[in-house]
Symmetry: C2
Subunit: 327 residues, 2 copies
């Protein structure tokens, strides 16, 4: 579907390695160790580094060079890791990418502080790549953080609320996940001196890609391959999360299916042996198919946004690759 | 001792009221409420607003106007409030300024998120006052946050360490408290277009004032008036905190005094009825008198730094006023 697919993939792998090397060296010699060891621990843990890649590829699409935005790319990756640390505390998560989460490996205070510090370290790195257009770039970065906090706050609020509309859910993932992808594209293209039109197009790309990514994540939670996906299949249902799939199923269900779904809310989750029952309800109601189509719809929107941009080949490749991912 | 003392005081009170009005209106209409109500709760709680004042007075000393740095003044106050929220979690504190702390009034997740969000809201406000010199101002602001995190990390580390040197303690308070005061003076004077020399002088003023302030705080904990001071007298001893007073007493003590002091470390604090015993040890060893002299020494350094600056009258007044404070 995409020409030069293997070339784009090798660029991704090469740049991912560069980003990881920069991240692992970044805070190595900083003191006090009680603060910087945990910061390095999370920065060194494995990740797809998609957000850093979005900064690099948006810079390229706006006519810029990777080497002028590496610090900004690192900044968004650091910011993403701050959210992981604090989200893991809020979600009581013990493990992340197979390793103990920060508040488990160290303690609560250390994890809170490491997250706080990473926000500032992210700004510090971003500023290294800012030139004349500092203010708008820092503003976009700051707006991104605020939206992440607002999104996370809605997510926590939805956990305890009885009713959540699909519109509200979409607003939440737009803020919690998609706003950061949008911000990555925004700062990458802005630092590279992209035109207003290019910046806008790349922002639309990032936002829609982010929404598609999150909906896909919701879907893979129930139909994904446990080994490939790397997360427990059915985890969202076990935790009673009100995902798009769940909310849409609740809307469409009647009779026993409906009362079974309401039970998930009332009991704040289900047991592992009930997952296949609920998967069958989802399949019967056609919500998995619906979400698949939605993922395609948002991916198409992302692709369409950058259609008139010359150097957007790798961004298109990324969208196709994420769409067919199983992890 | 200071001419025009009452004029300076009325300026302080007037500006404090302006800052509080701005702070109370700032996030009033923001959504989601689950995030912004707790943010407003802390911003509306009482405070001396000294950090905001430092921004204003440093701008004035550098030849600028208050009205050009109000947003920056609000930014440092917001930043200070972020540190209060997260520090209260780490210290397991139930009350702050007579009110329930955020994680008690709401919950842990809400408090973590509100603090995170306030960091970004602080940047958002700072940026409103940035013009051509954005980058250096944002850099100074960012460096301030990193130093606060490093200082807090050292503070937590010292709680569990058996031995802490006075030099290490001084480094800790320099980062945890004084770096923010220095940053306030730095950004106030930079935004106002102060000369390099003026900026440097005001930074030295802020740093030394911050150190004096913290040492005074340590001292008031043991000799302060409970009602006026607003905090429990002897609280540091009860929590087994290794303050300057404590570390210096440990250095000077011999025999039973020494073993009594070592008990504070071993038992991680003392009972309320033992406070006067330890106060007497401090008095006998002369450490309270020593700290008083240190507070004066650092205040003098602060005053000397701004001696050649024309418009520094109010900064001098502030240093004198803080020096004689009992709360």
């Amino acid at each position: 579907m995409i020409k030069d697919s293997s070339r784009f993939e090798s660029t991704y792998l090469k740049e991912k390695a560069i980003i990881e090397k920069k991240l692992s060296g970044l805070l190595k010699n900083n003191n006090p160790k009680s603060l910087y060891e945990p910061c390095s621990y999370i920065l060194n843990s494995e990740g797809k580094r998609i957000r850093a890649l979005l900064v690099l590829l948006s810079a390229q699409a706006a006519g810029g060079r990777f080497k002028d935005v590496y610090n900004a790319a690192i900044a968004v990756e650091i910011l993403h890791n701050f959210t992981l640390i604090h989200d893991d505390i809020m979600d009581n998560a013990d493990k992340r990418r197979g390793l103990p989460t920060l508040h488990i490996k160290y303690d609560l205070s250390t994890a809170i502080l490491a997250g706080d510090n990473l926000i500032a370290v992210a700004y510090q790195n971003l500023l290294k790549d800012c030139k004349s257009n500092d203010r708008r770039v820092v503003e976009a970065f700051t707006k991104g953080i605020i939206e992440i906090c607002e999104g996370q706050s809605l997510d926590k609020e939805f956990e305890v609320r009885k009713e959540v509309s699909i519109k509200e859910y979409m607003k939440m993932i737009e803020k919690k996940t998609a706003a950061l992808a949008k911000m990555c594209c925004s700062i990458g293209s802005q630092i590279s001196g992209g035109s207003k039109k290019e910046i806008k197009a790349l922002e639309i790309y990032g936002l829609n890609l982010g929404i598609a990514f999150q909906l896909q994540d919701d879907m893979l939670d129930i139909v994904g391959d446990e080994k490939e996906f790397g997360k427990k299949v059915g985890g969202d249902l076990m935790e009673g999360k009100k995902t798009y799939l769940f909310l849409r199923a609740l809307e469409k269900a009647r009779g026993k299916d409906k009362s079974d779904l309401i039970k998930v809310i009332r009991k704040k989750g289900i047991k592992k042996n009930q997952i296949s029952k609920y998967r069958n309800i989802y399949i019967k109601l056609g919500v998995i198919e619906e979400v698949k189509q939605l993922v395609e719809k948002y991916t198409d929107k992302a692709l369409k946004a950058v259609n008139k941009i010359d150097n957007a080949g790798s961004l298109k490749w990324l969208a196709f690759t994420l769409l067919k991912r199983s992890k």
